[in-house]
């Protein structure tokens, strides 16, 4: 029933527009803009909700209740916080590179926005069905490194600078195992199209055939999103808030929301690549595919939060050592095993 609700809306809108005599070319453009605006709204609303969820999960793990007063069960707490932050003065540090300083909190939202365009949220539910989806996704995802770094540099603060430098080192180092982990999946499917990758998990999810890749991806993903145990970029007990130290009011909130957008991307990508995307497990088809996607995504996000509120932070040299000495060889070994496995399976004819 709810399966094609979004597809239905799109068809209805298209029909409405062509009914009104809009030419086909404009029709497509308008539909694309509508889709992008919807995605932006989706990211923002989701990020707000995730902040709330993080606070609740964290509170529950710490024997507390968390926000409970604003709205039912404190649901509007983050909205109220955003309202408060909007009213705050934006303090401009002396000697800061103002253009870069003020631009970065806005620019930080561009990579998530670009990425969400290609993610398949459900059956036939993808804004832009791209042939090189995975490649595009990884390319855009690494853009945020430079934004963090620029924000740190422009702040004219030593904590920010240390944080920015850490972010570059960390993100570049962990990009490699992240990509190498995905390579196993891509070798099996032989495609970079996200929809096709989801489709090819019909018989078995890749989390079962590629467990090591999944683990490497999970760890590298935590590092990519700067979350504990890899939250060195913020490292609040060491370098205050890293690149965000000098940001106040909404500037800080933007970084904060972008962090959650990034978490969403990593989880969504994990869902697509390893957890079968929008595919329903155990034949539970009566739940719409997009709901399955979100369920899996939130499960992953919960895992991220769970880990965050359990583990301490790793040190910067240990981080680099772990990335290069453990994760990269592990990912490479996984690729090797996958390759050999594919050859053997093909030879005995279990897999075409």
């Amino acid at each position: 029933m709810g399966e094609n609700i979004f597809v239905g809306i799109a068809t209805w809108l298209r029909g409405l527009l062509s009914g009104a005599g809009v030419p086909d070319m404009w029709n497509d453009t308008i539909l694309l803009v509508v889709k992008l605006v919807a995605i932006l709204l989706f990211i923002l609303v989701n990020a707000l909700w995730l902040v709330y969820m993080e606070r609740r999960v964290c509170a529950f793990m710490q024997s507390r209740l968390g926000p409970i007063h604003v709205g039912p069960k404190g649901l509007f707490q983050t909205a109220a916080d955003i309202g408060k932050l909007l009213g705050k003065e934006i303090i401009l540090p002396k000697g800061a590179d103002l253009l870069v300083f003020l631009l970065m909190p806005v620019v930080i939202f561009i990579p998530p926005l670009l990425i969400f365009g290609v993610l398949p949220f459900g059956k036939n539910m993808v804004a832009i069905d791209m042939n090189i989806g995975v490649f595009y996704l990884l390319a855009i995802a690494s853009l945020s490194t430079i934004i963090f770094w620029a924000a740190g540099w422009a702040s004219n603060n030593k904590y920010s600078l240390v944080g920015g430098m850490r972010s570059v080192a960390q993100m570049v180092s962990y990009e490699l195992p992240l990509i190498l982990a995905l390579l196993g999946v891509i070798m099996i499917t032989g495609t970079l199209n996200l929809n096709t990758i989801v489709d090819s998990q019909k018989s078995i999810w890749f989390v079962f055939t590629q467990p090591i890749a999944f683990l490497v991806y999970l760890i590298a993903g935590m590092a990519e999103t700067n979350r504990t145990p890899f939250c060195l970029v913020e490292g609040e007990s060491e370098i205050i808030a890293g690149p965000y130290t000098e940001y106040s009011g909404m500037g800080f909130a933007m970084f904060f929301l972008a962090e959650y957008a990034n978490v969403m991307i990593i989880s969504a990508m994990c869902t697509v690549m390893f957890l079968g995307g929008w595919l329903a497990p155990f034949g539970l088809d009566f739940i719409p595919s997009w709901l399955w996607f979100f369920l899996k995504m939130y499960l992953m996000i919960f895992v991220f939060m769970w880990v965050r509120w359990t583990y301490p932070r790793i040190r910067v040299d240990q981080l680099m050592g772990f990335g290069w000495k453990v994760l990269v060889p592990l990912a490479l070994a996984n690729i090797f095993v996958t390759g050999v496995g594919m050859y053997i399976f093909r030879a005995i004819g279990w897999w075409s």
């Binding site: 710490q62 030593k158 007990s237 060491e238 910067v316």
Partner: protein, 364 residues
Amino acid sequence: MKTETYTLNLGPQHPSTHGVFRIILELDGETVVKATPVPGYLHRGIEKLAEARTYTQVIPYTDRMDYMAAMLMNWGYVAAVEKLMDIEVPERAEYVRVIVGELSRIASHMIATGAYGGDIGALTAFTYTFRDREYVLDLLEMVSGSRMTFSYFRIGGVAADLPEEFFPAVRKFLGELPAMCDEYDGLITGNEIFQARTKQVGIITPEMGINYSLSGPTLRGSGVNYDLRKVRPYGIYDRFDFDVPLGQNGDCFDRFRIRIDEMRQCKRIIEQALDQIPEGPIMAKVPKVIKPPVGDAYAEVESSKGVYGCYVVSDGSPKPYRVHFRRPSYINLGYLGKLCEGWKIADVIAILGSIDIVLGEVDC
């Protein structure tokens, strides 16, 4: 590659300096070349204030030094005045002192444990220890009426007897304490990331520890068996059977672990004290206006941070002529600069946290 060093001002406003405390770090990349600790942001001149107060009126000020274990701070001062006046404290008062003192030590070690977890990044540990500390504070509130600055000790005894409802409550708490300690062990001590962060970091050798006059868990982490309660038992500590946990390597991990072990030993002491506590008065016969004879006295107690000493000089008037507090945090901090050299920024936080300072005590 030739690189230049730069100076980073860690504090006085920093989340993990445990108060207002500044370390000027000279850094090469992330590696510390030179660290200069700068205390004094919380200096209130308690020693000078004490000279204008009567002997009893100084007691509330001692609370404000190590406000995490205020009972023990009271004890040191009171012990010095009692030594000066040669007062015999009644048996029951001694037992009450031991019970509340050890409870205070548990509260202080819980903060140290949780705050250290927080320093390393495990914020959940922080809330767990604070949650459990509330039980201790409840007990101490029951006894003294305050939750943090108790002012419970008096010269010659304690302010009030233990209330009836205290005994079942403290037994209940002690019953739960091992489970609490196990939880901290499971969440922090056993964690591999935590161990990677703290093992072999900031090593204090026994020789250096003694040379720098360190005391408390900071010194015992290096394996030096120097606990006043065992070495020179004051009060009635010679009647209790307990162990002194010692570390082997003198690294941050040992210093941290000892505190959890000490909490377990505190439980043993309190249980024995509860079993042995006699009936009787809780105050010695002390004149209304306390006028110690001319002279001076130095008394020490083992506070949660280390050896807490108090030097009192009397000129025969009702006001102390001179009071000096030997604050363990302050002297333990003296080694910080040397200890941090060659480690990363994150290690500076780990080392500072493992020393477990309270700035109220450092600056006095």
